[in-house]
Amino acid sequence: MKALQIVEAAYRGTIEEQDDTILWLSHAMKGVGADLTVALRGNAVNYAVKGQAAGGLTFGNWHQTQPPDIEQDLTSLMEKGIQVYVVEVDLRHRGIPTDKLVTGVGLLSFDDFVDLIEDSDRIWHW
């Protein structure tokens, strides 16, 4: 079974969870042999931007010691063999140049994105 993880929601609870919980879920499922591809669309294309930095948050004397590191999480997914893509039109709408993207992330035209959907057995849109 090939599953396509489409991630659209971005920066939703990432500070509290110290992760994007869908990228995290993908890591965990890969650990039990899941055949996954990740496609970032909508605001989640910003996850592929280099230089994100969420550190330094404090509430009173509580200090966040493990801020989310989305860039590293994407790199780790790719190191585990999960292909990560961004939908190009959503990058363009947000003015994100492709030379700002994390190394290894693939670009998808909308047509290619539709083909990817067609090639996947399950499409899980988050």
Binding site: M1, A3, E8, A9, R12, G13, T21, I22, W24, L25, A28, M29, G31, V32, G33, A34, R122, W124, H125, W126
Partner: protein
């Protein structure tokens, strides 16, 4: 003879915050009435849906006491749908993501709810006729 379908759902929303919850339970109800085998992977806020300590309340704005108000409690919906599915020859297997439970402190779930992990979502989905993710926003 046609095999009874097994359908897996991943759901994320906590109780009382969104229209998605009612729609999700409507889908489960349809499955239960048909006697399907239903698998639910409750992720993030949805792990609070089977929390056993949910309590109904009165509604002073409408002048109804707690009994009259009959306030919905998702834990009761899950229990009722489990019974309904079984009555029709099916089943409802509700798996709470364990880490999501821990961080929210909603460990006290109603009977029949099990604790699992993302691996369970994959395994349930892989063994099902089909699966649907209903994400939160």
């Amino acid at each position: 003879m046609t095999d009874t379908p097994t359908l897996t759902f991943a759901f994320m929303d906590p109780p009382f915050e969104t229209g998605r919850t009612a729609t999700f339970f409507r889908l489960l109800d349809i499955c239960a009435r048909r006697g399907y085998h239903i698998k639910v992977f409750a992720y993030e806020g949805a792990v609070a849906l089977p929390f056993s300590q949910q309590k109904p309340h009165a509604n002073a704005v409408h002048g109804r006491d707690a009994s009259e108000e009959n306030h919905p409690l998702p834990k009761d919906w899950i229990a009722a749908l489990t019974e309904e599915a079984e009555r029709n020859g099916g089943s409802l297997n509700w798996v709470n993501c364990g880490l999501c439970v821990d961080e929210r402190g909603v460990n006290a779930a109603i009977d029949g709810v099990s604790r699992g992990s993302p691996a369970d979502f994959w395994k349930l989905a892989a063994a099902s006729t089909n699966s649907l993710v209903i994400p939160t926003r």
